[in-house]
């Protein structure tokens, strides 16, 4: 790519969690979670709603802080309030509700951080923006407002927006859950191509097909702990934990 790269800092691409707990009042949503994600690894988190998987993702991305435990993302100690903001702009996040900026067109969404945070000129930012929009197949919709795009297209723009700042890690929080079924494929296809390119990804999803085909490792969460984990063929083919068996059979019925 000939365009400028915003992130020249040497932040790592791995994640280390040890003894992570999270309480909301009296409710303990995460209990002593330990997890390492390697550089370039694709980890998929599955589990029933309320199992803590989204909270875990939000802690890793810096949107929530853990109550106890150590969270080190790309070398940044997220559990230290003073240092946690260092992660901003170095990781990407793709949300269930897209969270595109409705007052900006697709290109404007993708280039906002490039211009305001990385102080690129409009020409530099637009070139970079068009390149990432092309990456997700949305360059022909660069000047459409989010409201003029389908859900799948909006989510692809949201992925492009995350990619624009050259993140080291991308978190996906149920990125396809709000989409009509026929639009899921275009988003998972983009996610798969990012995985193929070696992006470090942590993905919360209900798309078992995506987990099966793309994950290096699948984690099953229940009641705030990682109940079982393994390569997708093992976890789906031969689940060990009774909760995993129960969860997978319920999904098969649906």
């Amino acid at each position: 790519m000939t365009t400028a790269t915003p992130n020249t800092t040497t932040i790592g691409r791995d994640i280390q969690l040890s003894g992570v707990s999270k309480r909301f009042g009296d409710v303990e949503v995460l209990k002593d979670v330990n997890l390492n994600v390697d550089d370039g690894e694709v980890v998929v988190l599955i589990g029933a709603s309320g199992s803590g998987k989204s909270t875990l993702l939000r802690i890793m991305s810096g949107l929530e802080t853990s109550t106890t435990g150590e969270v080190v993302v790309g070398g940044v100690p997220m559990h230290e309030p003073k240092r946690a903001p260092e992660i901003r702009g170095h990781v990407g996040m793709v949300f269930q509700q897209f969270n595109l900026f409705p007052h900006l067109d697709a290109l404007g969404n993708v280039t906002l951080a490039l211009r305001k945070v990385y102080k690129m000129t409009k020409a530099e930012a637009d070139a970079k923006g068009m390149a990432v929009l092309a990456r997700v197949g949305m360059d022909d919709r660069a000047h459409h407002q989010p409201s003029q795009l389908s859900g799948g297209q909006q989510q692809r723009v949201a992925i492009a927006r995350a990619l624009a700042v050259d993140p080291r890690i991308i978190f996906f929080d149920e990125a396809t859950s709000a989409l009509d079924p026929e639009l899921v494929g275009e988003v998972t296809a983009v996610m798969r191509s990012l995985a193929d390119d070696g992006m470090t990804m942590v993905v919360v999803t209900h798309e078992m097909g995506f987990a099966r085909r793309t994950a290096d490792r699948v984690l099953f969460m229940a009641d705030g702990v990682i109940a079982e984990q393994g390569p997708p063929e093992e976890l789906f083919g031969n689940p060990q934990h009774p909760r995993t068996v129960q969860f997978l059979s319920k999904i098969a019925e649906a």
């Binding site: 991305s61 810096g62 949107l63 901003r88 702009g89 170095h90 990781v91 990407g92 996040m93 949300f95 509700q97 969270n99 595109l100 900026f101 409705p102 007052h103 906002l112 951080a113 305001k116 945070v117 990385y118 927006r161 995350a162 700042v165």
Partner: protein, 214 residues
């Protein structure tokens, strides 16, 4: 209806009309600046500041404008020891009163921006002030402008209340002509038409933008 009386009165009403426009313009500016400041208090973190903002809003929402105007005009004379200019007193009273409503319009506009917008901006690396300027504010403006203009229409009509402290705006001028000529129908109708000419285009504009927003 006495057309020749209306015709003769027009130059006098015109000076009142200009005074009304000037008072409305100054008060719209004043109430918007004050309203922004109070909305900032209302949406700030520290409980004391939030409480202050809340108290301000409740105080002025809960008292009639004439009281506010009389309080500013005579209160200033009493406590500052010197009389305030009528125009200044009216502008301060109207600004303070309407700023309470404007603060609430702006606050609800800020709070209507979903939390996901803040989160997306944070992850992208925008600092809180950048996030407010480039993500929250443009959406707040879109949400708040139609009700804000509605509030301005109320304010323009409320300038007529300045007649009670004796400011020679359009209402007061109309009253004195009626006192002299004894023809309330012709004069007040003319005054009403002049207010309508100012307010109606704004009202049309609000209706149009609201329809477009849906």
């Amino acid at each position: 209806m006495n057309v020749s009386l209306i015709w003769q009165s027009l130059p006098f009403l015109w000076t009142g009309f200009l005074m009304t426009l000037a008072l409305a313009a100054v008060s719209i500016a004043g109430s918007t600046v004050l309203g922004l400041a109070v909305a900032a208090l209302r949406t700030s973190r520290p409980p004391l500041l939030r409480g202050l903002g809340r108290a301000y809003v409740e105080l002025f929402r809960g008292s009639p404008i004439p009281i506010t105007l009389l309080f500013v005009y005579f209160g200033a004379a009493l406590y500052l020891g010197y009389g305030v200019n009528l125009f200044v007193a009216a502008a301060v009273g109207l600004s303070v009163y309407h700023s309470a409503f404007i603060a609430e319009i702006i606050r609800s506009g800020i709070e209507a921006v979903p939390v996901g917008q803040h989160e997306a901006a944070q992850i992208l690396g925008l600092k809180p002030t950048q996030s407010f300027r480039w993500v929250v504010l443009p959406q707040t403006v879109r949400i708040a402008v139609p009700p804000l203009v509605g509030q301005y229409i109320s304010l323009i009509k409320d300038t007529s209340i300045a007649s009670i402290i004796g400011l020679a705006e359009m209402m007061k001028v109309g009253q004195s002509i009626v006192d002299r000529t004894g023809d309330p129908v012709s004069i007040y109708l003319t005054v009403a038409v002049l207010y309508f000419i100012v307010c109606y285009p704004l009202s049309l504009w609000v209706t149009r933008t609201q329809r477009r927003a849906i």
